[in-house]
Amino acid sequence: MNSLELVTRLRTFLPPEAVLHEKEDLRPYECDGLSAYRQTPMIVALPQTEDEVAQILRICHASKIPVVARGAGTGLSGGALPHAEGVLLSLAKLKRILELDPVARTARVQPGVRNLAISEAAANYGLYYAPDPSSQIACSIGGNVAENSGGVHCLKYGLTVHNILELRVLTIEGELLEIGGGGLDAAGYDLLALMTGSEGMLGIVTEVTVKLTPRPEKAQVVLAAFDDIRKAGDAVANVIAAGIIPAGMEMMDKITTRAVEEYIHAGYNLEAAAILLCESDGATEEVTEEIQRVNEIMKQSGAIEIRTSRDEAERLRFWAGRKAAFPAAGRVSPDYYCMDGTIPRKNLAKVLSGIEALSAEYGLRCMNVFHAGDGNLHPLILYDANRPGELELTEEFGAKILQMCIQAGGTITGEHGVGIEKINQMCSQFKTGELEMFHAVKAAFDPDGLLNPGKAVPTLRRCAEHGAMHVHRGEEKFPELPRF
């Protein structure tokens, strides 16, 4: 079926404006949050109901047309990068909160609902949706399920997989799967976990029931400065060793602190090698006690400066700098490239000094922000895409960081997903048998490989051809994909 035939078929049940095929209409969909990778899709479809999604899938399945799902398009790994001969299935118009049950503490929502909109709707009941990825103003819950999104509070409150109860999923055949349930577990294999973080490779999520959490009575944050990144790392371990699970624990290095302080004016210590933010939440009495203990631990760990937020305004100011790290990178550099490795925390100093050495070797600056509680490291490599060869250098630098994360006992992606970006590093992290099993799992849902082809799991041929390292991605666009 060619593109015009498909448009005609889709328009038999979709309004004309819900099927885009003109070049200029397709342009906004050519990339997600990872703009280094761009591809115009053949067609964009914007269904408004589950039934329309099912009809689109049935047509694509029958004609073997690839389907790439897209939520808000905020993903950072190119997971929603379109397929040149495929349909980009935007779920943005399925954006209704269908039911909010304050007594059972659940919300049943469509996939296009924004993460923050759920918490806003639940606020009247003293409830909220706990996972809070930094893009929560914009990102959609369907995308959160696809990526198993986290946030700064996930050490205590969990990731998406810990906070959803039920999914309605359409297979590529257009068949409905009701996964999970109203209780805390379900019969059969744990498909709820398998779907979460599956990057649109297994099915299309059309409805999500999330768990809502009571809003804590109080939150307070300790801001500690260290003259040595090692001491800051030890401080994190000391907090955990004291039996404290902080609501949030974030670290920034000197270059990041300086970049954000310049325009946020959070009052950070500019001479510090590392800044640590440690938040406590819960009952008032509990927070008061915990904050006191955290203060003592920071002192014993050798902090050169410790401040505790005195009120909500100050707490938000302390956080403002950390939350502005990415835009700050955008201010000090024309472009930046965000990495997403996770490491056992004990190896932090080793990995950071490795990054410092690579930064010197490549002549590229790198800012480091760190979800210290759960070991998720976000190095932001600063570069200028207009300088010939600099993006390639950046990518090579990034690939080496990920390699280092694997060697340190960690993983190439903590929360951004593999997408197209880290597909070659998958060859380093997994052995052949494991990659084969991933393909088998996909085949159990999508035997023809039509959902988001070429993402998340590399073909064995790709791994063999590219080797594990020193790959300039983008030289060859999707060599493994069948053409239609």
Binding site: A193, E217, E289, T342
Partner: protein
């Protein structure tokens, strides 16, 4: 240890060659759970005893992660964690001193703290396993956040040994609460269900709930000031033997779980009003778990159907958890589309269908 793994792999490959069935078993403490399995020709299958593969591989309390071999006794693992002030927060039931980590993860059962802390699957970070070809595969890892590849580790959790043999398991652990207090409040069932749901919607440190015999018994856990403050709000009379009480619920030694009855487990929406079903009930997990003890003489097809339908109408599922006789349909029937996916996954992990065929469903 590699020698033991090689032996396991040989056993699996031999079974695959002959299409013979293998029951993965260590302490045998969960033998009662699931459908009775046998080879397709009616003869009993072989047993793959996994107890030899034992020991803690890696434990760094400040990383909040422990990695241990599947044959490790659960009691031993929990003792090691306790020494460092930590715990398996999902409070898995042992059902006997022989319980192992592998059996705990494979059965996917969680205890009283589940509603507040999460289930086994929420704490599983990574597994190393042998699939139905005897291939040695690792998924997930030793870190809290990891989205590289599909979440096979959690898929293995609760799969009852039908997808592969667990070798090493990495789990997130949590600190033991600084203070714990168990309290009781007399009330009827409907009031208790309301109360549990009301409390769960407030920032209170409730870590376990149980309604039985006209009393709501609940546990508060956390920092001492938080527990004190909550007690003032919530009321109730303290139970001196609180720890022993929760142990009796977790291990089903409480008088409710007396032998000689059929024990059903209904996992349903927490706000579901009292269920009108024959037999006696005990409620856990803030209302989301209802245990039902039915007299053997009331065990009819009509009762089974009523229980299944009641659970389904309440948004959940029913499991015939313990029964005297062999049963071929312990777990709640799956919708055809879901069964299809379950069956295909089984084929991918265990193409010769050697691992406990039929233990979960006749189709897998």
């Amino acid at each position: 240890m590699q020698e033991i793994i090689d032996q396991f792999a040989d056993t699996i490959r031999a079974a695959a060659r002959e299409s013979a069935s293998l029951l993965i078993r260590s302490g045998g403490t969960k033998d009662f759970y699931g459908n009775r399995t046998a080879n397709p020709d009616g003869s009993e299958g072989g047993i793959l005893n996994a107890t030899a593969y034992t020991g803690i591989v890696d434990y760094e309390p400040t990383e909040l992660v422990v990695t241990a071999r599947a044959g490790t006794r659960l009691a031993e693992l929990e003792t090691e964690l306790r020494k460092r002030g930590q715990m398996l927060a999902f409070e898995p039931p042992h059902f006997g001193p022989g319980a192992t980590l592998g059996g705990c993860v494979a059965s996917g059962l969680s205890g009283p703290r589940r509603a507040s802390a999460g289930a086994v699957r929420d704490f599983v970070l990574g597994v190393r396993m042998l699939d139905g070809r005897g291939d040695d595969l690792s998924f997930g890892g030793q870190v809290m956040k990891n989205v590289a590849g599909y979440d096979v580790s959690r898929l293995m959790t609760g799969s009852m040994g039908t997808l592969g043999l667990l070798l090493d398991v990495s789990l997130k652990v949590l600190p033991l609460p600084a203070a714990e207090l168990t309290l009781r409040l007399p009330m009827n069932e409907a009031e208790a269900i309301d109360k549990m749901n009301l409390w769960a919607g407030k920032p209170l440190p409730v870590s376990a709930t149980c309604f039985c015999d006209g009393e709501l018994i609940f546990r508060l856990s956390g920092a001492a000031p938080a527990v004190r403050a909550a007690r003032t709000i919530m009321g109730g009379v303290e139970i001196a033997e609180g720890a022993a009480f929760w142990q009796s619920i977790r291990e089903q030694t409480h008088s409710f779980f007396q032998p000689g009855k059929q024990l059903w487990r209904l996992s349903i929406k927490s706000t579901t009003p009292p269920l009108s079903l024959p037999g006696k009930q005990l409620i856990e997990w803030g209302g989301a778990l209802r245990w039902l003890a039915v007299d053997m003489d009331a065990d009819t097809d009509a009762v089974h159907t009523a229980i299944r339908n009641t659970a389904k109408d309440a948004g959940g599922h029913a499991t015939l958890f313990r029964s005297d006789g062999p049963c071929a349909s312990v777990f709640h029937p799956l919708a055809p589309a879901l069964m299809n996916i379950n069956r295909r996954l089984k084929e991918k992990f265990d193409p010769k269908r050697i691992f406990s065929p039929g233990r979960m469903y006749p189709e897998i």
